[in-house]
Symmetry: C2
Subunit: 343 residues, 2 copies
DNA sequence: TGGCCCGTTCAAAGCGCTTTGGAATTGAGT
DNA sequence: ACTCAATTCCAAAGCGCTTTGAACGGGCCA
């Protein structure tokens, strides 16, 4: 069933039927009603390809995700982000086009989406401190929004970010207030902007309280469970072991906890942990009761929903080209922190 | 830059240029070369919408995922599955269209994809024991493949599944061989086909060895960390606590381990665990060395890649409509299992 | 030299929709 | 009765591509 068939059945021209369905005013309410009902009865939806060819709009948003596990995207938070964005897309009638590419092929993927007119805009995931994709997208004129920011670039694009610096500054200060002096930072890859900013927050807090920064206590890697375990395990073996860990991911925090427990120590008494928590649906950190981990928390799913809305608003001309939204993470105190043990 | 522009620049007709780029034989190698180079030089890719309108093919595959967390999709394994499928799509020139929908709206999402001609086929995720989507897709004639199976339906569709029954049978037998008699089953939702089959395997093994099935030891819920913790915590408080746990998800297994350790017990000595392991990229269960958990293991990413290939082969007419692939899970012995403690 | 075939190119139609620029109908105003 | 504007509808062009059917030369054979 296509437009022509439908219009023939109704004894109307395709023009009128199209207008009736798209809410144009040049058609009487009586005919509109007749048309809409017939469309539903025959289960008619316009051919999306034809429609988009005619309108020049594709009603689709592109997401390019690199394959490599070095990157933080094909990873636990991805599903939740997509769920949030997908919610928004569904409500606004957009499709989501996912493109999984080899590392380094991201730029050409964006170019291809542009050349083939397959999307109206794209979402940039996992920006680096100095991310070439952003300047490139500007150049080729493909509307985009960024999940996160790129510190070293001019701040003239559209982004949504968590205030990573303040979150980790507050978390560090919280630990210092509890008497901790040796605080390890188990960070993500610091070429990633979020990790870079988290380190800044950590360092600001230490400097602010006149505590020297010990490079032997800071780590930057891909955030697996094993990374958390291995790092904590080695540190705890030392004489000058840290009394607290600040961790960038709940997954890695699980590893840190495992290392602590493997040594017969107790989390929250012998060793404290604060982790960042993306509020993932399946990793609920305490399930509404007292959280297991004290955490800086911000829902990545909500971020996805909001960011998608920003992009659509921009595409449809309802919003400026440089909306910027900063979420503040909440510091939720759980069972994993306590006063620093006296030596 | 479109076909017309490009052909004008070359002094050729659009026909010839199109044929040159699509590898048709009616064009001399000299012109083909000239055309291909010009296309690259001008960074030309055909407008995907126009192309698909003309060919009737869309070169896109649809994935519909329900929002609800009751379902197992917007969840840890989703990212890995997509990564695998995306790999295949990329290699074959297909796009992936993701549609996130309210629970229960899945069928209408498929219908809409069909009516709007926005995909050439779809992947069905998380089939129930008796899944209406499968019969519906048959009816509307949209090519599809299923990740998993639907036990109670005629077996005449295209699927790829892990042999869940045999995996859990073997795992159970392994525990029995170690002397365990009270084995708890911490399963996923048993309306889901995979969980249903896992229970079958578990029961077959017990029956085969003449061990009575204790309903008080089997559980069926959404597989969160907290579910594992809570379930194990309660069971271990009992006088007749199980000596082993068979768990359907690594995430929940983490919760079980936490409960064990919280009681000062040791995993692998006091209490054994076997879990299913989807070989997720960021949850590496032992990192190449001795696995932490003894596990039935099967890569969900590989499943995604293979299943995508099956669908494409089918769409392009290279394969039968009812290919069926059964992966056997590998039983990897790790540190979480040991002989049953003597009471 | 005429006729035929092959290799190469092209003009034009068509995919299913939107949208421009009328055309037909109606009703009110004078 | 006639004009004019508003209302309601339509024919046709166009979006950028593929594909059918035909044209055009040149080489080859008789």
């Amino acid at each position: 069933m296509n437009l022509k068939d439908l219009s023939r059945q109704l004894g109307l021209s395709p023009t009128t039927v199209s207008r009736a369905l798209n809410g144009y005013p040049e058609v009487s309410e009586a005919t509109r009603k007749r048309v809409v009902e017939a469309a539903r009865a025959h289960n008619y939806s316009p051919n999306a390809r034809a429609k988009s060819l005619a309108t020049g709009r594709s009603y689709a948003i592109g997401h390019v995700i690199p394959l490599s596990t070095r990157h933080e995207m094909v990873n636990p938070i991805f599903g939740d982000f997509i769920a949030g964005a997908g919610e928004t897309y569904g409500a606004s009638g957009y499709d989501m086009l996912l493109s999984v590419v080899e590392d380094g092929a991201e730029e050409s993927a964006y170019r291809s989406m542009r050349a083939r007119h397959s999307v109206d805009g794209v979402v940039v995931h996992g920006p680096r401190v100095d991310d070439p994709r952003i300047t490139m997208l500007h150049q080729i004129g493909l509307p985009f929004v960024v999940h996160g920011r790129s510190s070293r670039l001019p701040n003239d694009y559209c982004w949504l970010d968590v205030n990573n610096t303040s979150a980790f500054r507050r978390a560090t200060e919280f630990l210092i207030d509890l008497g901790h002096r040796r605080i390890a930072l188990v960070n993500g890859l610091e070429e990633m902007d979020f990790a870079h900013r988290r380190r800044q927050g950590y360092e600001e807090a230490l400097r602010g309280r006149g505590i020297a920064i010990d490079p032997a206590l800071t780590f930057s890697e891909e955030m697996t469970e094993y990374y958390g375990f291995r790092t904590a395990d080695r540190l705890l073996a030392r004489d000058d072991a840290p009394s607290a860990f600040l961790v960038s991911s709940l997954i890695s925090a699980l590893g840190v906890r495992r290392a602590i427990q493997a040594r017969g120590l107790e989390m929250g008494r012998d060793v404290s942990i604060i982790t960042h928590d993306d509020a993932l649906s399946y990793m609920d950190n305490g399930n509404g009761e007292v959280p297991i981990f004290t955490a800086t928390r911000s829902s990545v799913r909500q971020a996805g929903a909001r960011l998608a809305q920003m992009l659509i608003d921009r595409i449809e001309g309802r919003a400026a080209d440089t909306q910027q939204v900063l979420f503040e993470a909440e510091l939720r105190v759980g069972q994993s922190t306590g006063p620093a043990p006296t030596p």
